[in-house]
Amino acid sequence: MERILTRNIHKDDSQSVSVYEAGGGYQSLRKALKMDPDNIQEEVKRSGLRGRGGAGFPMGVKFSFMPKDGDKPMYLICNADESEPGTFKDRVIIEKDPHLMLEGCLISSFAIRARACFIYIRGEYVHGARVLEKAIQEAYDKGYAGKNILGSGYDCELVLHRGAGAYICGEETSLMTSLEGNRGYPRLKPPFPAQAGLWGRPTTINNVETLANVPFIIDRGADWYLTLGKPPNNTGPKLYCLSGHVKRPGVYEAPMGLPLKELIYDLGGGMLHDDRPLKAVIPGGSSVPVLRAEQCDVDLDYDSLAAIGTMLGSAGVMVMDSSTCMVKAIERITRFYAHESCGQCTPCREGCGWLEKILTRIEAGQGRQEDMGLLENIADNIQGQTICPLGDAAAMPVRSFVQQFRSEFQEHVDSKTCTVAHAQAHD
């Protein structure tokens, strides 16, 4: 398999612009600047590239929402807030191949006629921010960013902006509110960002990995891109994050549609302990429904996973073996959402906290018979009734864990203890 997104990351000094250029970097930008922005949009649309942040929305369609003219300044935002549990792929690009990301940002900014690209990076990625700061300066020094890029007459500023510890700021409207200097509260939609985004101006928000695909699409064309993965709707190279009870956790690149079992057993070296078989997998970051081991004969692409009731999401594949207490696992996941809920709207603010308390109580051996039905009902009352999808992201895992592992919950309630040994860190 040809390395595309990860072609540079193992090179020495891969972050530097010279290494990037030596590998052909910034040629796509040169080519793009000579194209019509609408043609770039068309090419991206044809490629079938879908958002890699979690929602899987077609990137070319998202571009097309932006006004083609008008005198309001327009912006691109690169969403580097990667905080979905189980996800660590953007970090690889940021830290090891920042110029790939920047080139994608610049081409995309040009395509939507943005005058600036804001890169919102999560506060914890301190090292990543330093790498990016340096790379941005290099880009300016080489004339790839700033005024009159490569003599094309196109101006685009790159502005790095650090978050400070809030998962919710990965949600596009919360990101904008945070960037404007506020508490990270999501906004009501409509208006949508392409109508009124940053400071009320048309804005497009894209994930790091999504943007990193763009230079390749421009360089080699949509037709080439459509040969990767499973066209027409699940195309391109994909970075998969493998973590949990496997021998070789890490980021793996493969064409879209890699079989889940191949990721775990081939690329990932198989289960961590040979005597602890696979029990469950969360395929797309903690917000997506969990799969039982017997459901894992599935390809990791948007449509295949949607067909069995879960999602590709952020491609954060979290593998759990037989030593995992599923009640403890969902308790930990729910604690995350309760901690990260911004608190703006009632069902998420109160509901996530309530779910957390019930699960803690069950895990501590004080569960009641009615608690499982109650958890599902609370999840139903949160889902679809909130301002933003964080509520859904909290509700879906709870419902799926209770439905898929009901007997374990039942055992916790009946016997008031955990009948599954907890995983221990092995020294």
Binding site: G86, R162, A166, S243, E340, Q424
Partner: protein, 154 residues
């Protein structure tokens, strides 16, 4: 408040955005990098500089978990307790650190050298379990590695 160099940096940061208020998070980082935490006096200064109310700044500081509202230890240990780290032993790691440092999570050692908190997923699930010590990630941790690391800190 923090000197001319600071104020010059503030001006530069503010100039990056079309609206001054957008500089808020970056200015809070500047204060925290210099003082180690964000005190109320700094919040008032920033409020005046950006033309917002002190309550607006305080609301922002208290929303984002990385801004410290009081000084932490010289070595601020932030243990990742996300699901993937939990699967690879973060609970054990936290227990070990609590015992070794003689404090519970959320506390600081009396000599001010170490503070210990739990945090949510740090985006390092492939190298779990791990923690962030001040700015740096320390990954693929074992209890021995942790002990060697702490032994080496003065």
């Amino acid at each position: 408040m923090l000197g001319q160099e600071f104020e010059a940096k503030v001006d530069e940061i503010v100039s990056r955005y079309p609206e001054p208020k957008a500089a808020l998070l970056m200015l809070l980082w500047e204060v925290q990098e210099r003082k180690g935490w964000v005190d109320l006096e700094s919040e008032v200064w920033i409020a005046e500089r950006l033309g917002v109310s002190p309550a607006h700044v305080h609301g922002t500081v208290t929303f984002y978990t990385m801004y410290k509202q009081k000084p932490s230890g010289k070595y601020h240990i932030q243990v990742c307790t996300g699901l993937s780290c939990m699967l690879r032993g973060s609970d054990n790691l936290m227990d070990h650190l609590e015992k070794r440092l003689g404090i519970k999570e959320g506390e600081t050692t009396p000599d001010g050298k170490f503070s210990l908190i739990r945090v949510e997923c740090l985006g390092s699930c492939g190298t779990a379990p791990m923690f962030q010590l001040n700015d740096d990630y320390h990954e693929d941790l074992t209890l021995e590695k942790v002990d060697r690391l702490l032994d080496g800190l003065d």
